[in-house]
């Protein structure tokens, strides 16, 4: 616009109008219906983006808290008091429950799918931790309905967090990584039965996942990781079976751990 002004100045008188034109134009811009509607859009976008950010933060907190629970639970394969660990985990799950409530309260009156990408990673981590806990306690797979129950805070429908079966599936896919670690640790600690049990469980889980078909990109990449975990576990079980009686326990532990490191680095 500035360029236009400079050039029009040299022209005949009527082209000077070009500069004067801008005076009414600015006025129109200030209180036009266009700008009024954009102010409305601004508010709507801001509130949506803010909510997204808040949920993302919740999700990150959830991930951290649940990772800690998982670390705690992994210590179970050592010489410790199982009940004590479960007790501590229960206390931590109560904290997580508060976070779930917060997410649920953000989503009241909103379509959870709109914000799914913001909070989904945290929820998946939660499902991973919860299913790991459940497996350690009952040696079986927690069902989607049972997970849903833990997200039910009251009888009124709106206040509860409605989970998405995809999140459950992805969370369970992550569980397999933890099971692999559990299997190796147990074998290293001389807990051979646990190792074989986990190996069996993992195999069944992998079979079932493989039969789900091509659900999503996320899942197929997790399936690859799952396959790798299963191979490690099977290799570890093999080692325990073949060499278990030959070499002392500490050496076995060393060996198993070194195979894990090798595989993780690939």
């Amino acid at each position: 616009m500035a360029v236009q002004k400079v050039h029009s100045r040299g022209d005949e008188h009527r082209y000077l109008n070009a500069t004067e034109d801008e005076v009414p134009k600015r006025k129109i811009v200030e209180n036009s219906p266009t700008l009024a509607s954009f102010k409305d859009y601004q508010e709507k976008l801001d509130s949506r983006y803010d909510k997204y950010e808040r949920l993302m933060k919740c999700s990150r907190d959830m991930t951290i808290a649940n990772k800690r629970i998982i670390f705690l639970l992994q210590r179970i394969s050592g010489p410790v008091n199982r009940d004590q660990i479960f007790k501590e985990a229960d206390a931590k799950f109560l904290e997580v429950k508060e976070m779930l409530k917060k997410i649920a309260s953000e989503l009241v009156d909103d379509d959870p799918y709109l914000f799914n990408r913001a909070f989904s990673p945290g929820i998946q981590e939660y499902i991973e931790a919860l299913s790991f806990y459940f497996y350690l306690k009952y040696k079986s797979l927690i069902s989607f309905e049972e997970v849903m129950e833990t997200c039910t805070f009251s009888n009124t429908k709106g206040n509860n967090l409605v989970l998405n079966p995809f999140e459950y599936i992805l969370g369970i896919a992550d569980l397999t990584g933890e099971l692999m670690r559990l299997c190796i640790n147990s074998a290293a600690n001389g807990d051979r039965n646990v190792s074989f049990e986990v190996c069996n469980f993992l195999r069944k889980l992998h079979n079932t996942f493989a039969s789900l078909g091509n659900v999503s990109k996320d899942l197929s990449s997790k399936l690859k990781v799952m396959k790798a975990s299963l191979s490690k576990v099977e290799a570890a079980c093999y080692t325990v079976k073949v060499r278990g009686s030959e070499i002392p326990r500490f050496a076995l532990a060393e060996m198993l751990n070194s195979t894990v490191v090798d595989h993780v680095d690939y």
């Binding site: 616009m1 360029v3 236009q4 050039h7 029009s8 022209d11 005949e12 009527r14 082209y15 109008n17 070009a18 034109d21 009414p24 134009k25 129109i28 811009v29 036009s32 219906p33 266009t34 700008l35 509607s37 954009f38 102010k39 859009y41 601004q42 709507k44 976008l45 801001d46 949506r48 983006y49 009156d109 379509d111 799918y113 709109l114 799914n116 040696k139 079986s140 797979l141 927690i142 069902s143 989607f144 079966p165 459950y168 599936i169 469980f201 069944k204 889980l205 079979n207 079932t208 039969s211 789900l212 078909g213 659900v215």
Partner: protein, 240 residues
């Protein structure tokens, strides 16, 4: 699978029943998506047809021809209502955002087409309510049901800016020297509007970054007309 491996498999750690119910969910999800894809294809076809009609204004930018094109365009846009009606039927209530990636593109096109039509008719910006009425959908999610997502609506407006920059050029070619000035004013206002938004680093933001080039193009046209003395007398150019 459970039956084949019999005795050992009786204790399946709860895995099989758990996944049986999930399998149902997954296959019904796939079915719904398939149906939605079919309807959105029709919707996109409809959008292409309307666009073909509206593009006619570049050929003949005189007022009379534009009016005719608008009448025809509006009639054809009416056809989109039935497509939207069919799409709405397919979506489980309250799950708009679960499937919205399927129809996002179509909604952006229709936002653009509606905005273009309204601009051609009355040289002003379309409102969300007008667009919703045009397509037979809800204005806001809050009122329940299918609506045009705000992001998609705004993307449609940016598409409009792009189309108008082209229209300004073609108007000059057809010796209509007043229109580019009006377009420039409209686009300046649109730009001022978009500047109010605090956009995230997403696809809308990327499209908004392109707005300045459209604006520049129109300003160049205005500049060319002005220095050559082709600018019509003041009264004709603004606020008619």
């Amino acid at each position: 699978m459970a039956d084949e491996e019999e005795p050992a498999e009786t204790d399946n750690n709860g895995i099989i029943p758990v996944f049986a119910s999930l399998q149902d969910f997954l296959s019904s999800d796939q079915d719904i998506r398939e149906e939605i894809r079919t309807v959105t294809r029709e919707l996109e076809q409809c959008a292409r047809e309307v666009l073909a009609v509206l593009q006619g204004v570049h050929q003949t930018p005189n007022d009379e021809a534009v009016k005719k094109i608008c009448t025809k365009g509006r009639k054809m846009l009416d056809g989109a209502k039935s497509h939207y009606g069919r799409l709405i039927e397919k979506i489980p209530t309250g799950q708009y955002y679960r499937f919205c990636d399927h129809w996002r593109f179509a909604c952006q096109r229709f936002s653009f087409l509606g905005a273009f039509l309204v601009y051609l008719e009355s040289e002003r910006l379309i409102t969300r309510a007008e667009l919703a009425e045009m397509l037979g959908v809800q204005v806001e999610r809050a009122s329940g049901g299918f609506h045009i997502d705000l992001d998609d609506f705004l993307t449609g407006l940016l598409l409009l800016a792009n189309e108008l920059s082209r229209f300004a050029v073609n108007s000059v070619t057809a010796a209509d020297y007043a229109r580019p000035f009006r377009i420039a004013m409209f686009m300046a206002e649109l730009d001022a509007g978009f500047r109010l938004l605090n956009l995230k680093n997403d696809s809308l933001r990327k499209k908004f970054d392109g707005l300045k080039y459209d604006l520049k193009k129109v300003e160049e046209v205005v500049y060319d007309l002005t220095i050559r003395g082709l600018k019509p007398a003041c009264g004709e150019t603004d606020q008619t």
